[in-house]
Amino acid sequence: MTAYGLSVVQILAVAVGGLLLTGLMAKVRARAEGRVGAPVTQPLREVVKWLGRESPRATGGALMGVVPVVLLVTTALAAAIAPLAGVGTAGAGGADALVVVFLLLTGSLALALGGLATATAFGGMGASRAMTLSALTEPALLVAVAAFAVPGRSMNLATLVRYSLAHPAGVASPSHVLATVALLMVVVAETGRMPVDNPSTHLELTMIHEAMVLEYGGRDYALVSLGGSMRLGLLLGLLATLAVPWGVAPSDSVPALGLGLVLLAVKAGALALGVALVEVRTAKLRLFRVPELLAAGFVLAALAVVVGVVVR
C-alpha cells in the first residue's frame, strides 16, 4: 500500500474508530450502572443523522462554520502523519511529536474562539475553562513526550516507534511506564473525560468542552462532534502506539498493515475500556482541584525523564 493510501486509511480508522470508542465508553458506563445502554454504533448513527440537518447559526455565525473545519482538518492531518497502523505514512519524515501536539492545540484554540464568538455566557465559560486546563496540561504533555523521545533520541514519531519495535524490552522499563501513566492523565484531561470533565452532563454550569459547543446545531454540530470523537480516537491510538508499539507495521505490505490496524483497534479499545471503568468509579473533580491532578501528571513525566536518563 502506498504511503498516501495508509494515511487515508488511518484518517478513516480514526474517524470511525473514534466514534465507536465514544459509543463503547458510553456502553461500558451504562452496563456498569446496570442499564442496557445505547448500541456502540449510536454516535456514528447520530453524526450521520445530524449531517443532514440544517445548521442554525447565531452571532459570529461565519466563525461557527469555520471552527468545525479547522478542528477536523488539524485532527485528520495529525492522524495522517502519525504512525498508528504503520510507520510508512505520507509525511512520516515530518511526523514530529511537537507538530502533532501543536496541531491538536490548534483545534482546541479554534473551539475556544468559537465559544467566545457566540457571545453567550456559557460559550465564554467553556472557552475560559478549556484554555485554563490546556495551559496547565502543556508542561506534563511536553515532558511526557520528551520522556518517550529520550531512549530513541528522536522526536520523530516514526523513528521512535521503529526504535521501540527494535528494542521490545524498553516497553517494560520504569521510565516508559511512568511516561505512559503521565500521558494517560494528559489524554484524560485533553479529551474531557472524568474526573476532569463529564462528557455526558446536562448541567451547563459544570461543563467545559460541551459548554463551548452548546450553540452548534445540525450539520455544524455533526462536524464538531465528529472532531471531538476523532481527537479521542487519535489520542488513545497515539498513546497505545507509544506505550505498546507491537503490531505497528514497519513495512508497507497489506497483511502487515491489516494486522496493525486490528491490533490498533484492540489496544485503543482496551485503553477506552480502562478509562471508562475508571470514569464510572470516580466523581468529577472540582475545577480548581484539576491543576493538582495535572501537576501529579507533570511530576510523573519529569520522573520518567530523570529515570530514563539515569537508567540508560
Binding site: L77, G93, T137, L142
Partner: protein, 661 residues
C-alpha cells in the same frame, strides 16, 4: 556597504525631513524616507544572509575622537533584517496614522531618529560605535515616551524608563570596557583568546553586560519600565520598541556574552536561564490577566523575550554539546524574527482599535470583527503565530528551542539534564499561558458582541495602515511556511557560539532538519495536506445539509441575551488568576450590600479585581524608597560650597592616582 550607506543617508534625510518639512508633508516625508532607509538596510542584511560574506567599513571624522566602524555579518544581519522589517512597517503605518501630538515636529524627527538608530545598532563593528548608536536609540525612545507629557502616566513611565535604560547603558558600558580592556581590542568580533570570560573579571564583564542587555529585553526584575513605556508611546513607536528594540537586547547577549566571553563558568549561564524562565512565566501570567490591550502586548513581549533568555542561558550552559547550543541559538534568532513581525502587527492593530473605538480596555471591546474585518483577520494571523500554531512563524522558533532542549536530555551529564528539563518545563508552561492570553485578545477583543459604545461604532478604512499590517502578516506566514532558507542562513550566524556550527539545523525550501534530535519539520507538506483535507471535508459536509439558518443564540433558553452577559477579559482570566494567586497576588474586592428588610436579599454586588506588579511592589518600591532616603540623608555632602566641591575633586584625583599606580 553602498546599500548600507545609502540606507543611513536616507535615514538622516528622514530626520531632517521630520524637522524641516512643512506641517502637511512632515509625516509623509519622514515616514516614507524612514521606511525606504529600513528597506535599503534590510536588503543589505538579506544579501549578507544569502551570501554569507560580511561587509565592513571604517569612517574617521564622523564622530569626534574616534572612528566609526560598521560591520554586517550573518549574526548582525539576522537581527538587522528583523529590525528593518519592523521599522519599515511601523514607518509606513505612521504615514496614515500619526496626528495630534504624534505628528509634531519633535515627535516626527525623533521617531525617524529612533528608527535610524535601530537599524544602526546591529551593524556596528566596535564598542564605541555600538555604544553611541545604543545610547541614541535609548534617548530617542525615552523622549518619544515623553511626547505626551501632559499625562501623569506618561511622566511616570518615562521616569522608570529613564532610570532603567540609563542604568542599563552604564552597566553595558562598564562591561564592554572590561571586555575590551582584556581583549586589547574594541572589536565586537569573537576574540582570538577563548578565555575572555574566565576568572573574576570575566564574571564581572558578564554580569554587567548581561544585566544591561537583559533589562532592555524586559527581564524580571528589571522589566517594570516595559509595560509602562510601551503602551504610553505612540503606536508606531511602541511597535518599534516592542518588536525591534527588545530584540536588540537579545542581540547584545548573543553577540557579546555568548560570542565573546568564552570560558565562563556554567553557573552564570544557569543564572541567566533562571532569570529568563522567571521572566517568561511572569510575563505570560500578567499577559493573561491584563485587560489593557497594549499592556497585554507589552507583558507578552516580556514573555517571548524571557523564552529567548532561557534558551540563550541553556545554550551557554550546554555549549559543549555539539548541535544543541547551535540549535538553541538558531531557535532564538527565528523566535526574535517571528516576534518582531507578529508583535509589531499586534501593536499597530491595537493602535487602530484604540483610534476607532476610543478605548484599549478589553472589557469594553468586542465584536470588532464586524466593523474591522481586515484588522481582525490580520490580528488572527498574528495570534496564530504567537500561540505556536504550526505554519505560524512563532512555532518554528519554539520548535527549534524545544527540540534543542530535548536533544540535550538524551546526551548530557546530570547537571545538563536538569538544566534542559527546567528550561523545557518553563517554556512549555509559558507557551500554554501565552495561548490563553492570545485567545483572550482575539476572542474577547474582536469576536462576540461589542461590550461598549466605542466598540459598537468602530470601523476601519483600507489604506496604508492596513497595508503595513498586511506586510507583517505576509512576513509571518512566509517565515512559518518556508522557514528553511532563513534557518540555513541563521545556522551560519550561530557559528558565533562556537568556532564551527557543527550540528546546526539544516534548512531547505521544504524542510528544516535537526541532527540534535534526529527529526525534521516539513511545513510545506503540512500546507499541502491541510489544503487537501480542507477540500475533502468541505465536500463531505456538502453531501449533508447545505441549509444554514440565522437564528438567535440558544444560550440555554434565554432569549433576552445582552452583551453584558458575555464573558469579559477579566472573567476569562479568572480561573488562572485563582490558580496562580500566590504569584500574582491580586487585589480582589467584593462589596455586598443588603436590603434593609432582609439580610438574605442582596442589593448591590460590586466586584473589583486588579493585579499589580508584585515585583514592583515587593522588590523595587523598597529599593526606590531606600535610595530616596539615602539621597535625603546625603544632602549635606553637596552643600553648594565651591571650596568643598574642589576638595572633593582633589580627593578623587588622589584616589585615582593611588589606585592606578
Amino acid at each position: 556597504m553602498g546599500l548600507l550607506l545609502a540606507g543611513y543617508a536616507t535615514g538622516l534625510a528622514a530626520v531632517a525631513g521630520g524637522a524641516c518639512a512643512p506641517r502637511r508633508a512632515r509625516v509623509a516625508v519622514a515616514g516614507a524616507l524612514s521606511a525606504l532607509a529600513a528597506v535599503l538596510v534590510g536588503v543589505a542584511g538579506v544579501r549578507v544572509l544569502a551570501g554569507g560574506v560580511a561587509v565592513h567599513g571604517t569612517f574617521s571624522g564622523v564622530l569626534p575622537f574616534t572612528t566609526v566602524r560598521l560591520r554586517l555579518d550573518a549574526l548582525g544581519a539576522s537581527f538587522t533584517t528583523t529590525v528593518a522589517l519592523v521599522v519599515a512597517a511601523a514607518s509606513l503605518f505612521s504615514i496614515g496614522y500619526s496626528r495630534g501630538p504624534g505628528a509634531s515636529r519633535t515627535a516626527v524627527a525623533l521617531q525617524s531618529l529612533f528608527a535610524l538608530a535601530l537599524i544602526v545598532v546591529p551593524v556596528t563593528g566596535d564598542v564605541t560605535t555600538f555604544l553611541t548608536a545604543w545610547e541614541i536609540m535609548a534617548l530617542a525612545s525615552l523622549a518619544l515616551v515623553l511626547i505626551d507629557h501632559d499625562r501623569p502616566a506618561a511622566r511616570a513611565a518615562a521616569l522608570w524608563y529613564a532610570v532603567m535604560t540609563q542604568a542599563g547603558a552604564a552597566a553595558i558600558t562598564l562591561g564592554l570596557l572590561v571586555t575590551s580592556g582584556r581583549a586589547h581590542s574594541t572589536s565586537l568580533l569573537a576574540p582570538a583568546s577563548s578565555h575572555l570570560g574566565a576568572g573574576a573579571l570575566g564574571a564581572v564583564a558578564f554580569g554587567l553586560t548581561a544585566a544591561g542587555f537583559a533589562s532592555k529585553a524586559g527581564a524580571v526584575p528589571l522589566h517594570v519600565w516595559l509595560p509602562r513605556a510601551h503602551p504610553e508611546a505612540a503606536t508606531p513607536v511602541s511597535a518599534m520598541m516592542s518588536g525591534a528594540m527588545t530584540a536588540l537586547g537579545l542581540y547584545g547577549l548573543t553577540r557579546v556574552d555568548l560570542g565573546m566571553l568564552g570560558g565562563l563558568a556554567r553557573g552564570w549561564w544557569i543564572g541567566l536561564l533562571v532569570v529568563g524562565a522567571l521572566s517568561a512565566l511572569f510575563g505570560a501570567l500578567h499577559a493573561v490577566t491584563s485587560t489593557d490591550l497594549k499592556r497585554l502586548l507589552a507583558y507578552s513581549t516580556i514573555d517571548v523575550m524571557g523564552v529567548g533568555l532561557t534558551a540563550l542561558g541553556a545554550a551557554g550552559a550546554l555549549r559543549s554539546l555539539d548541535g544543541v547550543a547551535a540549535t538553541l541559538v538558531v531557535g532564538v534568532l527565528v523566535l526574535v524574527a517571528a516576534h518582531g513581525a507578529f508583535k509589531a502587527l499586534l501593536f499597530l492593530a491595537a493602535g487602530l482599535v484604540e483610534r476607532a473605538s476610543g478605548t484599549r480596555d478589553l472589557d469594553l471591546l468586542g465584536g470588532l470583527a464586524r466593523g474591522m474585518g481586515r484588522t481582525t483577520a490580520l490580528v488572527a494571523v498574528a495570534v496564530a503565530s504567537a500561540t505556536g500554531v504550526p505554519l505560524g512563524a512563532g512555532f518554528v522558533g519554539e520548535w527549534l528551542v524545544v527540540e534543542g532542549l530535548i536533544g540535550a536530555l538524551g546526551r548530557s551529564d546530570a547537571g545538563g539534564v536538569v538544566i534542559a528539563l527546567v528550561a523545557l518545563v518553563a517554556i512549555a508552561l509559558t507557551s500554554g499561558l501565552t495561548a490563553v492570553a492570545m485567545v483572550k485578545l482575539l476572542g474577547i477583543g474582536f469576536l462576540g458582541r461589542p461590550r461598549g459604545e466605542g466598540a459598537r461604532g468602530a470601523s476601519e478604512r483600507p489604506g496604508i495602515t492596513i497595508f503595513s499590517l498586511g506586510l507583517l502578516a505576509i512576513a509571518t506566514v512566509g517565515l512559518g511556511t518556508v522557514p528553511g532558507p532563513f534557518v540555513a542562513a541563521l545556522s551560519r550566524a550561530a557559528g558565533v557560539v562556537r568556532g564551527t556550527p557543527a550540528g546546526a539545523p539544516r534548512g531547505t525550501v521544504a524542510s528544516v532538519s535537526l541532527g540534535a534530535a534526529a527529526t525534521a519539520l516539513r511545513p510545506l507538506a503540512l500546507v499541502v495536506g491541510a489544503a487537501a483535507l480542507t477540500a475533502a471535508i468541505v465536500v463531505l459536509a456538502r453531501l449533508g445539509s447545505r441549509t444554514v439558518r440565522t437564528a438567535i443564540a440558544w444560550a440555554c433558553g434565554r432569549a433576552d441575551l445582552d452583551a453584558r452577559m458575555q464573558y469579559t477579559a477579566t472573567s476569562f482570566a479568572e480561573p488562572l488568576q485563582r490558580v496562580f494567586a500566590d504569584v500574582l497576588r491580586p487585589d480582589v474586592d467584593l462589596v455586598v450590600s443588603h436590603e434593609e428588610e432582609s439580610r438574605e436579599v442582596e442589593r448591590v454586588l460590586a466586584y473589583q479585581s486588579r493585579v499589580d506588579d508584585a515585583v514592583e511592589r515587593g522588590l523595587l518600591r523598597p529599593v526606590v524608597r531606600a535610595v530616596d532616603a539615602i539621597g535625603r540623608r546625603a544632602r549635606w555632602i553637596a552643600s553648594g560650597s565651591v571650596h568643598r566641591h574642589l576638595a572633593y575633586g582633589f580627593a578623587a584625583l588622589l584616589v585615582v592616582l593611588v589606585v592606578v599606580r
